[in-house]
Symmetry: C2
């Protein structure tokens, strides 16, 4: 099976993110169209302290309209190395820093261009105050690995793919 040839792409909506209409040639010769969200690459990090605590963030999420936990993370800036982005987001959102290394990546949505780069950070310690962003209102929460396993099983954290991938890379599953 091969990728379908793209016939065209037009902007359908500009907002926080851009949505485009893409048209493809199907294998049977017909045409198919899909709305696709253009989305930058993101970097998320499972950060472990030397005493076995995981550094998470907690914030209000407007899609589900729930307060949820998350791995620290955010967009990779243009030209930025994803590992550097993970370290930067960890430091900005939580004030923690450690030894950051790649744990894999995921393609979480078939109708979005999003790629999630996942990292683990070990030996983490708090080195500064978190930066404040009035639109985020982020709290820092420390949990044990056993608590994290329970949180991903019970839908209280958004980056479930990245959390399992990072725990897998750390040999903690």
């Amino acid at each position: 099976m091969q990728p379908w040839p793209r016939l065209g792409e037009e902007v359908a909506h500009h907002g926080d993110r851009t949505m485009v209409r893409r048209r493809y040639r199907r294998p049977d010769g017909g045409e198919a169209g899909f709305d696709i969200t253009l989305h930058g690459e993101t970097a998320s990090v499972l950060a472990l302290t030397n005493d076995g605590r995981v550094v998470l963030t907690r914030q209000f999420r407007p899609g589900p309209e729930r307060v949820l936990l998350d791995l620290p993370g955010g967009f990779v800036d243009d030209g930025e190395d994803p590992t550097a982005a993970a370290a930067r987001e960890l430091r900005e959102e939580t004030g923690y820093a450690g030894d950051v290394r790649p744990a894999g990546r995921t393609t979480p949505n078939p109708y979005s261009t999003e790629v999630r780069h996942i990292f683990v950070a070990t030996g983490c310690r708090r080195v500064e105050e978190p930066s404040t962003d009035v639109n985020e209102d982020v709290e820092v929460v420390l949990v044990s690995v056993a608590e994290l396993r329970d949180l991903v099983r019970t839908d209280r954290l958004t980056v479930v793919d990245g959390t399992y991938l990072a725990l897998d890379a750390l040999g903690l599953l």
Copy 2:
């Protein structure tokens, strides 16, 4: 920390999916606005045969523009029980049926209303031909659990959260 009060919601774009602009009252008294994708609930199922094979689908995905594997699944119809939706999608996409039971759910995107219901199905066997959908062009692929573990680690499957959650529920991590 509490959910932020919603001040309003206006449609920003209608297409395959609807995007709305939601406005909230921030805890500091200011206003925040977010583009949110309205998305139905979905159901995905990790289907195991009696000889330990996992039933996957493979298709071209227009967001990443790659051919990727996936757990069988799709939208839950209005008023449909998510377990019934998982069984229906498994049968339609792959022709397999088995004993379907819940394994959890995920909230994969902070800026979408999507909820993914995840299921495991055991004792699966092929009971009919898959239904054909010209816009999907789905292939059925059988892999071992060890191969599935490798596929999720190497970004060759889209529902990584659901796959890990289902393997966790089955005690296969």
